[in-house]
């Protein structure tokens, strides 16, 4: 349940960037979360409402783009997906993660004063 902390980090960064851009309001926040990053999507969405309270992001849309897991076998280089993410589905040896552990703020959309 570290989703609230994760959400606080997201909002901190979003508010900083909005301030640097003299934005009046944040209308959308987009994040990229890896399938195996250990973050529960529902819990993150739940935290969004609480964490944005009384900020300029309070009415923002929140979009989570899920980055699927992709592994590569360290023995035969085979690239694989699937649930058993440590084991190559071709030769059974150990694999390493290529994508799927991302925790990234992609972008924000703002209304700015012109």
């Amino acid at each position: 349940m570290h989703e609230v902390s994760i959400m606080m980090s997201i909002i901190d960064t979003a508010l900083d960037v909005a301030k640097q851009n003299d934005a009046q309001k944040i209308t959308k926040i987009t994040v990229e979360i890896g399938e195996k990053a250990g973050v529960v999507k529902d819990a993150l969405e739940f935290a969004f409402e609480t964490v944005t309270k009384e900020t300029i992001a309070t009415q923002a849309n929140f979009e989570i783009i899920t980055i699927p897991f992709k592994g590569q076998c360290i023995s035969c280089d085979h690239i694989f997906t699937g649930d058993n993410y440590l084991v190559c589905d071709k030769c059974g040896n150990l694999g390493k993660m290529i994508t799927g552990n991302e925790l990234r703020i992609k972008s924000i959309e703002v209304d700015e004063c012109v």
């Binding site: 349940m1 003299d22 703020i105 972008s107 959309e109 700015e112």
Partner: protein, 251 residues
């Protein structure tokens, strides 16, 4: 930034250490408050701030020639008991200091002090992990000159603490025999980021269906480079092997 209209004039800039005067508002201030919609690309790690503070912690720790371990396990695996054993038997040699992370109470810090080491307690309230800022604050309370090994005992949890770099030299994970031999493959992320695994409570092996060899095999499957030490905080078995590893690796 102008606080009235947010137009970006005026700032936190200082001249000769003094804050700039607020700008005069005699310029085109009949803003039409129409608003432009704009997308700003950020592409930044969500934990960038934490990682930045962790980097500072790491530098601070290295400057004092201290070796720092981040101990992570499920609640009840015996972290504090293992620490008590190490402090009592090897405290003079290693000059331990401990940062204790728990949601509530300073019971563990008290136990560490009673065993003979200095301890700082962090109570996270509801949070399930320590972060770099908490460690930064705690580091100010540690007598680094009289510390050789600093151990951060993280909040008992095998998932969340793994995501947060605290500035440690290495992560150490612990599983205990009653938790079951497949724990390493159930929570692979922790072992993937750990350098050492302690399998604790091996004094209970005669009473459990725990297969130690399988547990070691599962752990190596997750992380072939893992150093594994079966130990018992209670009987002391396996502790000398771990201590020799520590002696070789803290420098």
């Amino acid at each position: 930034m102008c606080l009235e209209c947010g137009c970006g004039e005026g700032s936190h800039t200082t001249i000769d250490g003094k804050k700039m005067e607020p700008h005069q508002h005699d310029h085109h201030h009949q803003h039409e408050y129409s608003h432009d919609h704009k997308e700003i690309e950020i592409q930044q790690d969500i934990l960038a701030k934490n990682n930045h503070i962790a980097l500072h912690n790491r530098e601070h720790i290295a400057r004092h020639n201290v070796f720092c371990m981040n101990w992570i396990s499920a609640p009840g695996s015996g972290k504090t008991f293992l620490l008590e054993r190490l402090i009592k038997d090897h405290g003079e040699k290693f000059k331990f200091s401990v940062i204790e992370g728990d949601q509530q109470t300073d019971n563990d810090a008290q136990r560490i002090k009673d065993a003979g080491a200095s301890a700082t307690q962090i109570n996270t309230g509801s949070a399930c992990h320590l972060d770099a800022e908490m460690i930064h604050q705690a580091l100010h309370k540690i007598d680094m000159e009289n510390t050789k090994i600093l151990i951060i005992e993280n909040v008992g949890n095998m998932v969340c603490p793994t995501a947060y770099d605290l500035g440690e030299n290495m992560k150490l994970s612990i599983v205990s025999c009653p938790e079951g031999e497949d724990k390493p493959i159930k929570y692979p992320d922790l072992l993937l980021t750990s350098k050492v695994l302690l399998i604790n409570k091996i004094d209970l092996l005669p009473y459990l269906d725990f297969d130690l060899d399988r547990c070691i095999k599962f752990s190596k499957q997750v992380n072939p480079d893992l150093e594994i030490f079966p130990v018992s905080a209670k009987s002391g078995e396996g502790i000398p092997e771990f201590v020799s590893w520590l002696e070789k690796n803290i420098n």
